[in-house]
Symmetry: C2
Subunit: 215 residues, 2 copies
């Protein structure tokens, strides 16, 4: 890697990858930086710059070979590794994520689920048995799970995050709005869905500048 | 606006705005592009570039006046307008969004909710009565709602989106994984939560390049 790519860059790479998947389904063989840009709301120069972080694959006048580029982005995003995830908090959001097909389609699989509600523990949800969150550490310490999804109420978030880290989870997707602190070697991604609304709201007021991705 | 800002840029502006809000709570008065960058996982040059789209407010050696910058970003993101939203589909995800505090905190308010399930229609959820989706058009046509949130199964998405557009909704946040087509003047934002997992997964494998936002 010539230079470090930031979180926005990785998001764009993930978006390009999804466009390539649907172009493959359409039977397309080559794609230009212009088209990739248009379908993701970026300009062609940005696309070329992002892809150049990982080496240069485009042919001038022809574009990118779809299969080559898809393989390369798949490697970058480690799509070949199936990722096992634990989900803590089987409320409305947790249940929604359990039935969220895009996770599976993109190679992510929830394999263990936990809650602290006595009425839920032992019940099935999404083909898995809801386990007691007080058993999280002994259960997960054998599992080699690297990603944790946390959808518990704010007050419980830090404790759950600490326990996940203790059993070897290295990346955490946190949906609670509360602030959580983690050691430097842990990847923490806080999901704030109100950001999406800010974006909608902005483009609603600035219609002249609607990029294709927002359409 | 000197130049058009893309969707990634607006997302960064929304992130800067959230950092400013928490710095204000901490009693801070000035903030540097370095700090804004560090807290959002971008470099200082990117921060200065983003903010320069909307005019130049930083003072060299001092940084940005927090109150001024917050006011300016608030205007850009139209935070002063309270946004009314309709939610269609009161399943797990819809229910989770109804109790999602960040929406209210950021000035977005769900004021009408719809479902097609006879057992749900007429029930209360989040202080609102679930209304029959077949009544969506007559009910919403009086309401002046500009944003619609769609959390219905894929097969029903296009029909719901079409009806929302007919009653004057101009921006749609779609959580269904299906493809939806909309006229050019409509802002459609498809939310794909698997992108967040791709990002986690990438930084998990590239620990040397973890930016602070992902921490």
């Amino acid at each position: 890697m010539k230079k470090q790519i930031g979180p926005s860059g990785v998001t764009r790479i993930a978006l390009y990858y999804r466009v390539l998947s649907s172009l493959t389904e359409e039977g397309v063989r080559y794609v230009s930086s212009e088209e990739l840009g248009e379908r993701t709301g970026n300009n062609a120069a940005q696309v070329r710059k992002d892809l150049s972080y990982f080496g240069n694959f485009g042919k001038p006048g022809v574009g990118y070979d779809l299969t080559d580029l898809q393989d390369k982005l798949s490697q970058i995003l480690r799509k070949e590794d199936s990722r096992k995830m634990a989900l803590v908090g089987v409320g409305n959001l947790g249940s929604a994520l359990l039935s969220y097909d895009r996770f599976k389609e993109e190679g992510f699989q929830i394999t263990a689920i936990f809650d602290n509600d006595r009425r839920k523990i032992g019940c099935q949800r999404g083909g898995l048995v809801i386990q007691d969150v007080t058993e999280l550490k002994p259960i997960l310490s054998k599992d080699g799970i690297s990603i944790g999804i946390v959808t518990v109420p704010s007050a419980a978030t830090q404790k759950v995050v600490d326990e996940l880290i203790e059993v070897g989870v290295r990346a955490i997707l946190n949906f609670a709005p509360s602030r959580v602190t983690v050691p430097d070697f842990i990847i923490l991604q806080n999901v704030d869905l109100s950001i999406e609304l800010d974006r909608l709201s902005f483009f609603l007021e600035n219609k002249g500048s609607i990029p294709s991705r927002a359409k």
